[in-house]
Symmetry: C2
Subunit: 339 residues, 2 copies
């Protein structure tokens, strides 16, 4: 049975396993430092489709089929989301799969939300296997949130580069490491940032608040975790996160990495502050973090997908960009929580 600990943290004392992951990425991500780790690298980011939006849905469908094959199960439910208006990347991607799907939206933090909800479903007995799945596509995101790609706009150094791809995890009642042992659901924060080319600044305070709440609620030190992994803060947001946490007496300089920094090579790939998009943290989790947990190189990580909540309309209307984050503890042992 799950238990709410502190204000925002839910802990699981029975096994909630991640039995498999799947990752599919675009050409640029395939050329990056993690290129060899992904299950599938596209040779063409159109994925055989006629539109960017349809390409993203094709990626979702393919990535889920990889997940079903690797896990050997067809899940009871899918929990999925993406950045396209009305979650169309997900909906058109899953429509032929005929598995009940819970649509979610938490921008680039969606994979964290999906893992958290999947874990609760497993814990409650509502399902034996749940697929958590998210996607993003550079081209569908750029034209929706910023400018038509054809304009060839210059992008400021604070901007991040939306990852093309999908990441998925099979969350299961099977007793096999690694396990989701806890999650902390962040509150939506508004720190007055309104520059759509500086998502890192909007998300860093939300990540700091979520990590800090998680450590307090679980009575753990930051050093407990082999790695604390944020989603897509990028170089700009990482700097802010470390500063904000330091003010609270929390030092994660030695065990913090950011998926947006890991996925691209700063020197050669011209991605400025780093990678972003729902698929950024999800694909890095699926391809790199999960494997390192499985082979024992990592024993416990705090995985913190981060999201910037806004729409083109909200930006036009002068609203601030809101930040959110989910911290998900993934460990190689089931924890008998006593808090």
């Amino acid at each position: 049975m799950a238990k709410l600990t502190g204000a925002e943290t839910v802990v699981f004392s029975k096994p909630v396993s991640i039995t498999a992951t799947a990752s599919t990425v675009g050409t640029k991500e395939g050329d990056g430092p993690l290129g060899k780790l992904f299950d599938r690298v596209l040779t063409d980011n159109m994925a055989g489709e006629e539109t960017w939006e349809a390409a993203e849905s094709a990626i979702v469908k393919d990535d889920l089929s990889i997940l079903f094959e690797k896990s050997g199960v067809r899940p009871d439910f899918i929990i999925g989301g993406d950045l396209q208006n009305q979650c169309c990347g997900t909906n058109y991607g899953v429509k032929d799969i005929k598995i009940p799907t819970f649509g979610i939206f938490d921008a680039c933090a969606s994979f964290g939300e999906a893992l958290a909800l999947a874990a609760i479903m497993i814990d409650s007995g509502a399902a034996e296997n749940v697929a958590a799945e998210v996607s993003s596509h550079f081209c569908s995101a750029e034209r929706q949130f910023r400018f038509p790609l054809e304009l060839g706009n210059q992008r400021p150094q604070t901007s991040t580069y939306t990852v093309t791809g999908a990441g998925a995890a099979m969350v299961s009642s099977a007793d096999r490491p690694p396990y989701i042992t806890a999650f902390t659901a962040g509150k939506i924060t508004d720190y007055g940032v309104n520059d759509a080319n500086n998502m890192g600044a909007a998300m860093a305070p939300a990540a700091a608040e979520c990590i800090s709440s998680h450590l307090r609620d679980t009575v753990r030190d930051a050093a407990y975790y082999d790695l604390i992994v944020t989603g897509d803060l990028g170089y700009v947001g990482k700097e802010l996160l470390l500063q904000l946490l330091k003010k609270e007496g929390i030092d994660i300089a030695d065990n913090h990495i950011d998926c947006g920094i890991e996925i691209f090579d700063k020197a050669s790939q011209d991605t400025h502050s780093g990678g972003s998009g729902c698929a950024c943290s999800a694909a890095v989790f699926a391809a790199m973090l999960y494997k390192r947990l499985r082979n024992g190189e990592l024993k416990r990580i705090l995985f913190v997908p981060t999201g910037a909540l806004m729409s083109p309309t909200s930006i036009q209307e002068g609203k601030n960009i809101l930040g959110t984050a989910y911290a998900v503890a993934v460990e190689n042992e089931v924890i008998k929580w006593n808090i």
Copy 2:
């Protein structure tokens, strides 16, 4: 503990209560047949804000405060969604409330998804109180999905009228009727409908499939329920639903109502096929159905919010409109499921 029964249905054998509801609607809904039942009727659909989108967020915030007051609790989590791109109605509505929020999207079926997820959270022990909350606004929806209101376009007779308002329910571990006893999560269906002014046709097959699965999985007759209540099929979709179910040998002509038909007066309000939008089913549930369950007039209902999944982009790209539905059983007794 929850249990997955059949392919898509989850049943709850312990109390998952709805302890309070809240509804806020706009002026037109206030003038409709249910006008007197809503907790709050706006005198101005701008709700004191400068944009329609901000008005929707203000409605969300107010409706949640009514819910917190009526239930006497501040929930552990909020699960919420709306029709605005990137769920901005919800996100800007909850940002000052400082409660962790799970963003969802299933178009006008979102309230069904929210109730289902909230019930699982309560069942698992992850929370003691969860607020399920959704909203929609005629003006923000029209300009986003169809045409600028200033154009004064004529609307076809198959079209529905997006409800301005919000509906919310406090789902709780308290043992007090009515209870959520089961839900069936619909699969996303594609029946080839691509007319954005005929949502009823896109959703009716999804509703039929979901209701049929629910009855099969729970081994219940349609007549078991005092009412089977769909979300926003309207007159056009209702007709299709009854026909589709009849083909499967299921007759719900005597105990079916549709929230989209209930909320407006066809003769005088010029709303064509009826009401729609996330708030349609949610506000009707909160204002009418919940009260009739509480006073014993209804003992068990199957509440089936329906959703049409699409975006302006997907329509422009010639994709079909997908349908989805969630069937949530709400009854005045806890059921000891033996299936």
